[in-house]
Symmetry: C2
């Protein structure tokens, strides 16, 4: 079993209005030293090993469902979980 942590964020060229709103809200709460906020998605996916290479499968899952690759970019970390 593998644990895959996937981070999906907007590409640099894409406006992030939710991140802007959170930045502004933090300033209103007094955190005026906050320079920038970007909001992304975070997935924790548990996968059984099968005959496919896991990186190829995760790339495909991100491209097909988890990220909108026109606007978003993703990265991930794979760790092997110990069997109980």
């Amino acid at each position: 079993m593998y644990l895959v942590k996937i981070y999906v964020t907007y590409k640099q060229s894409i406006l992030d209005p939710k991140g802007e709103a959170i930045h502004d809200a933090l300033h209103r709460l007094g955190y005026t030293n906050v320079a920038d906020v970007e909001l992304g998605k975070y997935f924790e996916v548990k996968l059984e090993a099968d005959e496919r290479p896991i990186e190829a499968e995760v790339d495909e899952m991100c491209d097909r469902l988890l990220a909108n690759v026109n606007m978003e970019t993703y990265r991930y970390e794979i760790t092997e979980m110990e069997a109980l």
Copy 2:
């Protein structure tokens, strides 16, 4: 300047219907080896150093705005960014 990466996820006892929906969608796409999906939020916050300890400030920001501590839990990593 610091870069703080914040991960907000549901507590174990809280239902995650979006994670369930993504799990089901991945199965329909043929990724039947996916055992579990949890969906969370991911923030990248850039902060200017000020006189406060940065961990105390990030904890407070999470408790007040970024996470709903009744339902969610958070963790973060702080890295110092090089000045240009």
